[in-house]
């Protein structure tokens, strides 16, 4: 039992904590649950942290602040953020803060488990980060200059209208570019697109 990887789960909702603990447990992980970011920070001590799953909206410190704090302390742990309020701006902020993934509630188990495995893999094979970057760059290589501009706007957290204004195109055109971006990079969600863009160093 001791060889089970410990996953730290932070959510202010009791049912969310319990169900995640159950899901992680039956999939061979050991879950430790906390009802707030502060409870988590106070409870971990000096032990090494592999992976954290945290809600974004919580009383007290929110999930993104937690990621920044962990990164600021130089912690090597991977943080997966989950939220019921999925939107592009939040996803970008989360990815920029250093979260490895951003998942919208409700999610399928495979989405979460895949993210956990990827996070643990990334962390374990840190030297491969450059290959991830190369892969990401390869996926972005096909983008036209205009599509790249739009992607940069998205990464900057701008909404469609602002991007359209900055590039002197119509918001409708921005939407078309966004659809193209998703298709060309093979991203299934905005958060995945953000991850690719950030990995490529955009």
């Amino acid at each position: 039992m001791t060889d089970k990887t410990i996953i730290h789960v932070i959510d202010d909702d009791g049912a969310m904590r319990d169900s995640l603990a159950f899901l992680l447990d039956v999939n061979g992980f050991q879950a430790r649950v906390y009802e707030s970011a502060n409870a988590f920070l106070g409870g971990i001590g000096n032990e090494a942290i592999n992976c954290v799953i945290s809600d974004i909206r919580m009383p007290g410190m929110n999930g993104i602040e937690l990621v920044r704090k962990l990164k600021g302390q130089g912690a090597a742990c991977a943080v997966i953020l989950i939220t019921g309020h999925g939107d592009v701006a939040l996803a970008v902020e989360a990815m920029k803060a250093g979260a490895v993934d951003f998942i919208e509630k409700p999610f399928d188990d495979e989405a979460l488990l895949g993210a956990i495995r990827a996070a643990l893999g990334t962390r374990a094979t840190s030297p491969e980060e450059s290959t991830a970057r190369k892969e990401a760059e390869a996926r972005l290589a096909e983008l036209s200059p205009r599509e790249r501009d739009v992607l940069q706007g998205l990464v900057a957290g701008k909404i469609n209208k602002v991007i359209a204004h900055d590039l002197s195109i119509s918001p409708r055109t921005v939407e078309v570019y966004r659809a193209n971006l998703m298709a060309k990079t093979g991203a299934r969600s905005m958060s995945e697109l953000m991850r690719i863009a950030l990995a490529a160093g955009l």
């Binding site: 909702d13 049912a15 969310m16 319990d18 169900s19 995640l20 159950f22 899901l23 447990d25 039956v26 999939n27 909206r57 989950i82 019921g84 309020h85 509630k105 409700p106 999610f107 399928d108 188990d109």
Partner: protein, 480 residues
């Protein structure tokens, strides 16, 4: 009349009267010889006193004394009888003058008050009608002439019922009779919104305030009438805008509420997904841990119920809203709404009959909302009869167990079966230009008040809309 002219009139008339009597005395001089006979001067002083007041009276007295002296010379004061006579006359003159002065003052005051009252009555925006206890009009103001189209000369002497549409026209004598017998005040001192009828037969909503007065054995009722047509149409427009606004703001609030509830809904849904997926993973294992699976399923069921509670809260929010509840009489509530809704109905040839039970207990409701429902139903009914030849609208409220039972029946085109099923759902309409939200809002309002609303086919063709509202609890309902 200038003050100067007035002065000459007062004193001049006194002088002329004195001169006339002087002439008379001159002609009769041989009859009296040396007796004073001051009685002949009394009418002069009286005339001067009542026409001119104190000053002219004294002036006339002096003239008459002079006249006596002219005829009698020194015997006026040497003869004791003459002296007494003349002295009385000299005292009586100023006294009469004083009395005349007061009378003049009072007459002046009365005239002034009368003029003031008349100017007020002519200028107040309300029409004023005075009737006696048999309902016969005794006074009909200028504004009333304008409002009802009757000349005062035509109206005075007629029964006030001619100013009301049926069924009130036939019932008004009964109302007066009932008041005489029971003394129960239905309108006196309260004021209500009722329907008036002009000479040309058109009707209009009006606000009626009635006061009563007893003069001797006679009893009078004074009615002040304010035309609500213009004010009402403005208010109705405002109300329409407001209710639209309330609706829009509620939709906006609903949107925000829905967004936050959607987020909240994601929590149990995520939990359910995790429990069930986890349980499915357990089922794939060689050795099935039934207890753990059952527990996971129980917990996901609990979360499903939690999701249901969240949705219920959203629905409650939609149905409720900020309302102000007051105690209302169902019949009056309905009649007031009808008075507004029936503006112009007569012109469209709609025969309206109101059949309400006035003895019903009170209801506690948001008056504006319920009147909106009634107004909506009545307007719909009138609209439904636009194309039919028989146009009869029956409105009323009666008792049905613990509920006030409101009904609006028309003889219109009726409701198509395919619409009937979805009648109270939003965005269902049979109107060419309709949003189809009226009846759904009606249902929301009625159900929020603990009542029900339904439509059925009218026996003689057309539709009957019925809604119920619970009577107030006995402990709160009998405080009036």
């Amino acid at each position: 009349m200038t003050a100067q002219r007035r002065f000459w009139l007062r004193y001049g008339s006194a002088a002329v009267a004195a001169a006339v009597v002087f002439a008379l005395r001159f002609l009769l001089h041989f009859q009296f010889e040396d007796r004073t006979f001051t009685v002949i001067y009394v009418p002069v002083v009286v005339l001067a006193a009542f026409a001119g007041g104190r000053g002219p009276a004294i002036f006339a007295t002096l003239l008459c004394l002079g006249s006596s002296f002219y005829f009698l010379g020194s015997s006026l004061y040497t003869s004791p009888a003459n002296l007494i006579d003349v002295s009385f006359f000299a005292v009586m003159g100023p006294v009469l003058g004083e009395i005349g002065n007061r009378l003049l003052q009072e007459t002046e005051d009365a005239r002034y008050r009368q003029a003031q009252l008349q100017s007020i009555l002519d200028t107040v925006p309300e029409a004023m009608i005075v009737i006696d206890d048999r309902g016969i009009m005794r006074s009909f103001s200028v504004t009333a002439e304008r409002l009802f189209g009757w000349q005062a000369a035509e109206a005075i002497g007629k029964n006030v019922a001619i100013l009301m549409p049926t069924p009130y026209r036939q019932e008004h004598d009964g109302y007066l009779d009932r008041y005489r017998r029971t003394g129960e005040r239905r309108i006196i001192g309260i004021g209500r919104i009722v329907v008036g009828e002009r000479k040309d037969g058109s009707t209009f909503p009006m606000e009626l305030a009635v006061g009563e007065a007893k003069v001797g054995k006679e009893q009078f009722f004074t009615g002040f009438v304010r035309d609500l047509t213009e004010r009402r149409s403005q208010e109705r427009r405002m109300q329409e805008l407001q209710s639209e606004l309330v609706h829009v703001s509620r939709l906006t609030a609903m949107g925000e509420m829905a967004s936050s509830l959607a987020h909240e809904l994601n929590q149990p849904l995520s939990a359910i997904t995790s429990y069930l997926r986890g349980a499915a993973t357990l089922l794939k294992a060689g050795e099935i841990d039934k207890d753990r699976i059952r527990e996971a399923m129980d917990r996901s069921a609990t979360q499903a119920l939690r999701a249901g509670d969240i949705i219920k809260r959203l629905r409650e929010f939609v149905a409720k809203g900020e309302t102000e509840h007051t105690i209302e009489n169902p019949a009056i509530l309905l009649e007031e709404a009808a008075a507004l809704a029936l503006v112009g109905a007569r012109e469209q040839g709609v025969r309206v009959s109101l059949r309400s039970d006035h003895e019903l207990p009170d209801i506690v409701v948001d008056k504006i909302q319920i009147q909106q429902v009634a107004l909506n139903l009545i307007r719909n009914a009138i609209e439904a009869m636009e194309t039919t030849s028989r146009r009869e609208l029956t409105i009323g409220v009666s008792r049905q167990n613990a509920f006030a039972f409101f009904a609006v029946a028309d003889t219109g085109t009726g409701i198509a079966p395919e619409i009937a099923q979805h009648l109270f759902q939003p965005f269902v309409t049979s109107k060419a230009s309709g949003m189809g939200v009226g009846l759904s809002i009606c249902r929301t309002i009625i159900e929020a008040h603990g009542g029900r609303i339904a439509a059925r086919a009218n026996d003689g063709g057309g539709t009957v809309f019925e809604f119920t509202l619970p009577f107030a609890e006995p402990e709160t309902g009998h405080d009036r």
